[in-house]
């Protein structure tokens, strides 16, 4: 599962929906993998305002990735004057699209429920008493 997706996932339980702690989910015993993807500058630019940068920073610390800049990169930094993609864009692309969680667990900060991730697919099925 891409880190981009993880930046949008919340706990699936109804009781957690209204609490702030249900987002972001915290990775546990996560194994990372790198997947080659084609660079899509327009897509990254479109996603930028929707990203929760605070959540992205906590995620990077928890996964032991190099520290991210304190502020969200702005759209102007993504391309230089001639329209060529910059290093910032490449780094964002590597972080969001190419870094993925292959296996591990995702833990809700509110209820503590653990969602298992296997082969990059997270299991969000809830037993009926937890819905």
């Amino acid at each position: 599962m891409k880190l981009l997706t993880l930046n949008f996932l919340t706990c699936a339980r109804k009781t957690c929906k209204s609490t702030a702690a249900a987002f972001p989910l915290h990775p546990k015993e996560a194994e990372l993998e790198q997947v080659e993807m084609e660079l899509n500058p327009l897509f990254v630019k479109n996603m930028l305002p929707r990203l929760d940068w605070e959540a992205m920073k906590t995620l990077a610390t928890e996964l032991g990735l190099p520290n991210l800049p304190a502020e969200t990169p702005v759209a102007e930094e993504l391309a230089n004057e001639s329209g060529e993609p910059t290093q910032t864009l490449r780094d964002l692309h590597t972080l969001l699209m190419e870094t993925a969680i292959a296996s591990g667990k995702l833990v809700c900060g509110n209820c503590g429920h653990e969602y298992a991730v296997k082969e990059g697919i997270a299991n969000f099925l809830l037993p009926s008493h937890m819905v």
């Binding site: 599962m1 891409k2 981009l4 997706t5 949008f8 996932l9 919340t10 706990c11 699936a12 109804k14 929906k17 987002f23 993807m37 084609e38 899509n40 327009l42 897509f43 479109n46 996603m47 929707r50 929760d52 699209m97 993925a100 082969e119 990059g120 697919i121 997270a122 299991n123 969000f124 099925l125 809830l126 009926s128 819905v131």
Partner: protein, 274 residues
């Protein structure tokens, strides 16, 4: 023909054998591709977008989303949800681009508000009309699903869900659940009144009117069943009013009945008797 919905719940029906059959059948693949392209045309996306694929199965529709050319606003990135682990296994074997979750869409959509630009769903949401256990109801599952979908789409976002309703009742159940969640909703019928009829539920968030989605398409008739908004400031004809009385008198006269002459006193109240 038997409906798979009537046989088993989706997570059990699509086991390894059935999933392989579904994914490798060229007939099903063609139909799925046609429907996905139709749904994409209805969504009318201009930029590379983040799309939610509900009931993504083995990623047949997702593949098409990833393959949209740059001229047509692609390629899109998608996140899929499906309840059948075997179907997702097929998707892994085929090495699709999107992320997938093993999840029941009837339990809600676990994404934060305003995540997706659009959502598509091919042949999936009719499964929500089945209640597999006694502690859930079709209405409850549809409500959880549409409420979750509404929240996870951004404002101005659209969703197109192709589905196979069992009957008119099921069709209305689904569309009314969508409207209750706050969507502007409409149903597009392809090949109406034939065996191959396809229903597309077109939903919009905050847009209100969905007829705009088909404005540029050919061979599409719009039937608007919404109640016409009452014109403001225009007096509505009340029973017993002068306008009502003159209309009724004209009606009776046309039938050939004897009707009293009209005068300036017609329809006036008598003064209160002492």
């Amino acid at each position: 023909m038997s409906r798979p919905e009537d046989i088993l719940p989706p997570d059990l029906f699509y086991d390894d054998a059935e999933s392989r059959k579904y994914t490798t059948s060229s007939r099903i693949r063609n139909i799925q591709a046609d429907m996905t392209n139709r749904a994409l045309a209805l969504l009318d996306l201009e930029h590379p977008s983040l799309i939610l694929d509900l009931g993504c199965g083995s990623g047949l529709s997702g593949e098409i989303l990833s393959d949209v050319s740059a001229e047509e606003g692609g390629p899109h990135t998608w996140v899929g949800m499906d309840i059948s682990a075997s179907m997702l296994g097929q998707a892994l074997e085929r090495d699709t681009d999107g992320d997938m979750l093993l999840a029941d869409i009837g339990q809600g959509v676990p994404f934060r508000a305003g995540t997706f630009d659009a959502a598509i769903s091919i042949s999936a949401i009719q499964w929500l009309c089945n209640a597999e256990t006694s502690d859930v109801s079709p209405e409850g599952r549809l409500k959880r699903f549409f409420d979750g979908l509404y929240a996870s789409l951004k404002r101005g976002g659209k969703a197109v869900c192709q589905f196979y309703p069992k009957n008119t009742q099921q069709r209305n159940l689904i569309s009314q659940a969508a409207i209750k969640a706050g969507f502007g909703a409409g149903i597009l019928e392809d090949d109406p009144e034939t065996k191959n009829v396809k229903y597309y539920l077109v939903l919009s968030v905050g847009g209100g009117d969905v007829t705009g989605a088909v404005r540029e398409m050919e061979n599409v008739d719009v039937q608007d069943a919404r109640r016409r908004e009452r014109k403001r400031g225009k007096e509505v004809e009340r029973k017993g009013s002068k306008a009502w009385i003159t209309r009724k008198k004209a009606q009776m006269e046309a039938k050939g009945k004897v009707v009293k002459n009209s005068s300036k006193y017609t329809g006036r109240r008598r003064r209160t008797a002492f």
